[in-house]
Amino acid sequence: MTRGLLEIAIVLHATGAVASFAGELRKRPAWTRTGALILAGAFVLELAVLALLGASGSAVPVRSGGDYLLALGCLVLGLHLVLGLGRGLPGIALVLPASSAAMVAAGLVLPSAPASGAALEQRGWLLAHTAVATAGMGALAVAFAMSILFLVKDRALKHKRSVGMLERFPSLETIDRVGFHAMLWGFSLLTLGIATGLAMQAELHRPLFGWTAKEVFPILAWLVFAFLLAARRSRGVSGRRSAFLAIAGFALGILTVLGMPR
């Protein structure tokens, strides 16, 4: 049943992402609105799948790379829907729904592994660690989306694209501000995620750092964002350089999935 629901959710998610993308690109508000409604339906279904996974026996909600990507995709979709409320951010529908759909689709493709004995033993720590780390990556996904928008808009401005093209995106200032705030939240939550991960390892009497992908990539992502935030504060690094670093940081963070059970 869970898989069936997930399949319906991913079909809705992909359809909503396409409708939102096309609506934004072709300046058809009706398509964007329809896309948002379909995406909202997909979000509810994905939440239901996550709840069912959590409730199924002794498994924790995030027990494998697939589960992680599913939870992250669902979270990013939720953030997209929240950012789309009110005045909304034009252009964001070009990036977030598509990337979140890709995450959920990858979650569907990757096999789900049963929870290990150790994970069950430290269920509380594992829940806290995965929840915080996933939330952090969700916020960093928004920063990633904003970086993409920044690069597209910067290029459009530099190459004197038509005003119609420029109007499809928020002002550079807005993109930068939203991206920066998302980065701040993402970095803080990622720091907390790494700290809870270390605490869990200590509880299990395991070495704190094992040179696995699951440990190396979050640390690398953390280092990139730490450098970026420090450079931004001390030297005012922003614009394209900041956008490229944010994209690289997010890409490193998402590679964490390589170290997860498959």
């Binding site: 530099k158 004197k160 005003v163």
Partner: protein, 441 residues
């Protein structure tokens, strides 16, 4: 019938439009003299720099137009033969369509310009204050103003840039959330830079600093624009603080080099900088656009935006005309139903009169009936008349919906032998009664 007599930037030269224009303080007197003219029931005068239009409701369209022409000639001391070649006259639906188009900016010199909506609104308010409008012009103007607002919003016609200054402000909004609080540096104190600066000031920019080779000219312009003046040598330092630079000097070589801007960037801490160069030859070295966070637009780039904007406005105007046509048809239907009022009322009056006559004729035979029975018979007769009236009335209104009100009304008058002039003016019904309730009462 609605009649519009007017002249605009296409039909009349500026000196004639100037002569025909009415000042705000002249409107009450002019409206009252216009209403005193033969057959003019309602009136409104719209006078802007590009048009003078007089809208009236008159009993007879031909005579209303002649009255307004003569009023305009007398009032503004313009020879009738000069006026003749420069005014246009629209009547009925055409007049209504013209009012809708004017309110939406579709008849403006700059297609879709937004100021005209406010000007029409003010002209209507002035006419209302003078009690010069009645139900028909009230309905027309309220409908036109609301429709123009809806149409402008639906088509976004005024969003597209049609001037260099507008394009510069639009670009600035692509970079910054809001122009309020933004710091603008003006290089050069020529006419073009002044115009563009005035537009930015009208958009609410925070501060304006002006630098010119001749400091005194910078000071003069700074005073005019409530800004501050700067010596030319201080420009590199100013570049570190401002958000927008607008340049338009007459220099033969670039006054702002890539190196000067590069040096300022380190102190800007990543803040984007918009350079708008409207000078020919250019004031800013083109390579400056390659610097990170610097966006340089020259006069050709701005002209492309203006051309795009004009094209977009033309496309939006097509859509706006289509939307307005729906509104014009709706107003026209209302007007036609209003025009049917006297015929419907006369028909009703005629049949009820027949009923009353028959009651009177049968008076003696009905005498033995008691008060209650007699009232019941009268009520029965009224009800029969009402039922008979129902279908002809509905048919007449349906004819109005099809735009055939006048033909059907004439037919009814002939079939039922209705003479509208015989009717008591106070007994009109439906929209027509509203019309009678206009300024005449």
């Amino acid at each position: 019938m609605i009649t519009l007599v007017g002249m605009n930037h296409r039909s009349a030269p500026l000196d004639l439009r100037e002569r025909a224009c009415f000042g705000d303080d002249e409107l009450p007197g002019a409206l009252s003299r216009l209403l005193a003219g033969p057959g003019i029931a309602e009136a409104m005068i719209l006078a802007t720099c590009n048009r003078v239009e007089i809208l009236v409701r008159g009993d007879d369209p031909g005579s209303a137009a002649a009255t307004v022409r003569s009023f305009l000639a007398t009032e503004r001391r313009i020879e009738p033969e000069i006026l003749e070649g420069h005014v246009y006259v629209h009547e009925g639906s055409k007049a209504a369509r013209h009012v809708f188009a004017v309110a939406c900016g579709l008849d403006s010199m700059i297609l879709g310009e937004p100021q005209i909506l406010g000007q029409v609104k003010r002209a209507y308010e002035a006419a209302r204050r003078c009690q010069a409008t009645g139900p028909v012009l009230d309905r027309l103007l309220q409908h036109a103003l609301a429709a123009a607002k809806r149409t402008r919003s639906a088509t976004g016609i005024s969003r597209h840039a049609v001037s260099i200054a507008f394009a510069a402000a639009k670009l600035a909004r692509s970079l910054f959330d809001d122009l309020r609080g933004r710091r603008v540096l003006l290089l050069g104190a020529g006419k073009m830079t002044e115009l563009a600066a005035r537009h930015l000031v009208s958009q609410g920019v925070g501060s304006l600093t002006i630098a010119n080779r001749t400091y005194a000219r910078a000071q003069t312009l700074a005073e005019a624009l409530s800004g501050s003046a700067l010596t030319w040598d201080d420009v590199p330092q100013a570049l570190e603080r401002v958000d927008i630079v607008l340049t338009g000097t007459a220099a033969a070589a670039p006054v702002l080099t890539c190196e000067t801007v590069r040096r300022a960037l380190s102190a800007r801490r990543g803040q984007p900088l918009l350079l708008v160069d409207i000078a020919v030859p250019r004031d800013v070295e083109p390579e400056t656009n390659t610097l990170e966070g610097v966006y340089l637009y020259d006069v050709d780039d701005l002209q492309e935006i203006v051309d795009d904007g004009l094209g977009e406005r033309r496309r939006a105007a097509e859509e706006a005309r289509r939307l307005l046509e729906i509104e014009v048809v709706a107003f026209d239907r209302w007007r036609q139903v209003a025009d049917l009022g006297p015929t419907i009322a006369a028909l009703r009056e005629r049949l009820h009169a027949v009923g009353r006559e028959e009651i009177a004729r049968f008076g003696r035979r009905l005498a033995p009936l008691g008060e209650a029975e007699r009232a019941a018979v009268e009520e029965l007769l009224r009800s029969v008349v009402q039922k008979i009236l129902h279908t002809p009335t509905v048919t007449l209104k349906a004819a109005a919906d099809r735009g055939e009100a006048a033909r059907f009304a004439a037919l009814y008058r002939e079939i039922f032998g209705l003479d509208l002039t015989e009717r008591d003016e106070g007994e009109g019904s439906g929209p027509q009664r509203l019309i009678r309730g206009g300024k005449d009462e």
